[in-house]
């Protein structure tokens, strides 16, 4: 069986075609990628929270989380912000261009463990992208879970990611609250940091609630502290961490954070596993 990553030849990238580019925000676009090889396409599956290495020949690779529906076969969306040379190079490519892909890699959001529980998702900025597959997965079997609450923070109203989908998610049974750091005229929703939303979200059974968060590290840290003060146990809190990934397969040493390899042990971690290393300067 030809799979996307051969564990014994993990450096081999597969050719993918950019089927569609959706400009989400200034400097942020979603790229729908499809494998050229039909067999690889059929066999490819990922779990919410995992990432791929996208490769632009001549520029190199970059780690990008998968932002699409885990049950949708054939198309793999990646929401990418122009930041380094690879993502900037990608931004210059038209639809139908070919690039390379290795993946999926890394750990996943604990969707299985959400069964029967209330779930709070806290996303900041482009951190909503790695959480979107978990949102899709939770909503695809809505009956299995208790209350589903999604708290989204963004810099300003125009920086909200995927705003057109919020009402679909609400209709499917998820409470979606959005807040911005800087409001403008005509903004009718919350203003203030996303951690303040968490402070006042009603939790009926905090000790049985599971929380997942993705965003800037500072935001996640105070989200976690807020969650713990609300009574959510440290072993029910999950974070997605980021470090410079070069190989994605635990062989190059770049993405270490304390004892963890972000690429191999993460990017999704249970908080109690990384609590001791999250606030050490320059670790």
């Amino acid at each position: 069986m030809t799979v996307a990553v051969d564990p014994h030849n993990p450096w081999l990238a597969r050719t993918v075609r950019i089927r569609r580019i959706v400009q989400e925000l200034p400097g942020v676009a979603t790229y729908d990628l499809c494998f050229d090889d039909a067999e690889i396409a059929r066999n490819y599956s990922f779990r919410p929270g995992q990432f791929n290495m996208l490769y632009l020949p001549g520029l190199g690779e970059t780690a990008i989380s998968i932002s699409g529906h885990p049950r949708r076969v054939g198309v793999i969306p990646h929401t990418i912000r122009e930041a380094g040379s690879v993502t900037t190079g990608l931004a210059g490519l038209p639809e139908n261009s070919c690039i390379g892909l290795r993946g999926p890699f890394g750990s996943a959001w604990p969707v299985e463990q959400c069964a029967g529980r209330d779930v709070v998702l806290v996303a900041g900025g482009i951190g909503l992208a790695p959480l979107r597959p978990a949102i899709y997965e939770l909503l695809s079997q809505r009956d299995r879970y208790g209350k589903l609450i999604l708290l989204i923070g963004a810099r300003e109203p125009s920086a909200m990611l995927y705003p057109a989908e919020y009402n679909e998610w609400r209709d499917a049974g998820m409470q979606v609250e959005v807040t911005v750091d800087r409001a403008l005229d005509g903004w009718n929703s919350h203003v203030g940091v996303v951690t303040a939303l968490l402070d006042r979200v009603p939790l009926e059974n905090p000790s049985g609630t599971l929380l997942m968060t993705c965003g800037p590290e500072v935001m996640m840290w105070y989200t976690i502290q807020g969650a713990i003060s609300r009574g959510i146990p440290a072993d029910s809190i999950y974070v997605s961490l980021e470090r410079n990934m070069n190989c994605a397969i635990g062989l190059c040493g770049h993405c270490q954070l304390g004892h963890e390899f972000i690429c191999r042990d993460g990017p999704v971690f249970r908080y109690d596993r990384v609590a001791s290393i999250l606030k050490v300067d320059n670790l």
């Binding site: 490769y55 040493g253 270490q256």
Partner: protein
């Protein structure tokens, strides 16, 4: 080892049970001094590229050898923190030195290697990985700490969910001739790390040098096959006795010690210790320690293109956690101080390596001490932290009730 590529992990030699200098029949074996050349010749004839110690740039390094004459006959090395000098021994010993700046990792995990390629193909790219067979190496003169280092890198490159094909091919093909140390440098501390000085497993053949030749041990079927082509003689009790006392000399010369008790928790519990500032004042962040370390495995893959831009090699080069841009993320390095980079290196090597790979990343070879231009000795850094561990909280003493009532 050259026995069939094994899917088993960790690598174990086929017959490591009795690490004594006996052949499979139980007789002690002796290889006459002049027959070392025969061994090298036989390996070459078997298609091996024999690499071993040789003199180069006033050091004993590892390079290709075509005969026993290429070995550093009669030379030894004098090592201390920040110092390495060659000296004549006054005898004709082949292996009368400890370890130099090179390690075998440069053959198994090459400093530069192409991990993948991209060829322009019409409007797209043909993506591939190289599958050329690497050289079949025979390593001559692998010390006990180096066998341990190879085992450590086996876990890194072959023990996880993804294996590195470059390392795998080279490792599977390699033939290992270990040499027991008969002396130790002042920088050696293998006894603290339980890695030496005696070679007990992980080799095809092992030698102990005595004046008239070598005591020979067989560690694998491949080793046995090679040994069967040599004119080995049963070793006399007197020869075995001289071998034993030569090996014992190495043990007795080891003076450096590192207390590894609970070292993982000691270091991870002292990430904010003031000693990191102290060592940061002495460390130049030059990367020497990581380059000479036989287990350091950090690397970076970058695209290297030809002038047309149509052929691209994804080139992996050794990198180092001491390089500023190693931790570059979102426009800035995460570890932007020498303090944080030294801490990363040492805590990784001695502490978090246990979490990641189930063993220490340090084998006690002492290279990082010798080749540090400012003579930083990690055993001293550990001892300093051990002598005054911090509580993890701030260093101020708590305010007593008396002080509260006095104000």
């Amino acid at each position: 080892m050259s026995s069939k590529p094994s899917s088993e992990f960790p690598f174990s030699p086929p017959a490591p049970d009795s690490p004594a200098n006996h052949n499979p029949d139980g007789t002690s074996l002796f290889l006459p001094r002049d027959d070392l050349n025969t061994l090298i010749g036989k390996l070459t004839a078997d298609g091996y590229q024999v690499v071993g110690p040789r003199l180069e740039q006033e050091a004993i390094i590892y390079g290709e050898i075509s005969g026993a004459d290429d070995l550093p006959i009669g030379w030894t090395d004098l090592q201390e923190a920040g110092k390495y000098r060659l000296q004549p021994r006054g005898d004709q010993a082949f292996f009368g030195y400890t370890v130099g700046p090179h390690s075998w990792k440069k053959f198994l995990f090459p400093p530069v290697a192409v991990v993948a390629t991209a060829e322009r193909d019409g409007t797209g790219w043909k993506l591939d990985t190289p599958d050329a067979e690497p050289p079949k190496y025979a390593f001559l003169g692998v010390r006990a700490c180096e066998l341990a280092a190879i085992k450590v890198q086996d876990r890194v490159f072959l023990g996880g969910p993804y294996t590195d094909p470059i390392y795998q091919k080279r490792r599977n093909a390699a033939f290992i001739i270990a040499v027991n140390c008969t002396q130790a440098a002042s920088t050696c501390f293998c006894t603290s790390m339980n890695t030496g000085p005696r070679c007990t497993a992980g080799f095809d053949l092992a030698l102990t040098e005595i004046s008239d030749g070598f005591l020979l041990e067989i560690g694998s079927a491949a080793g046995n096959a090679v040994a069967s082509g040599l004119s080995l003689q049963p070793a006399s009790d007197e020869q075995s006795g001289r071998g034993e006392s030569a090996r014992q000399q190495a043990v007795s010369q080891i003076s450096k010690h590192m207390d590894t008790t609970d070292i993982r928790d000691l270091l991870m519990g002292n990430l904010q210790h003031p000693r990191w500032d102290d060592v940061a004042n002495r460390c130049l962040s030059c990367t020497n320690c990581t380059m000479v370390c036989p287990t350091c495995f950090c690397s970076s893959v970058k695209d290297v293109s030809d002038l047309t831009g149509d052929h691209i090699d994804r080139e992996r080069r050794w990198d180092s956690c001491f390089n500023m841009d190693f931790s570059y993320m979102n426009g800035a390095p995460v570890r932007n101080s020498i303090h944080s980079r030294y801490r990363q290196w040492m805590t990784h090597k001695l502490a978090s390596w246990h979490d990641q790979f189930g063993s220490s990343g340090c084998v006690g070879c002492g290279r990082c001490i010798t080749w540090c231009p400012t003579g930083i000795d990690l055993t001293e850094e550990v001892a300093a932290i051990r002598s005054s561990p911090s509580s993890g909280r701030s260093e101020r003493p708590p305010i007593s009730d008396a002080e509260v009532s006095a104000t």
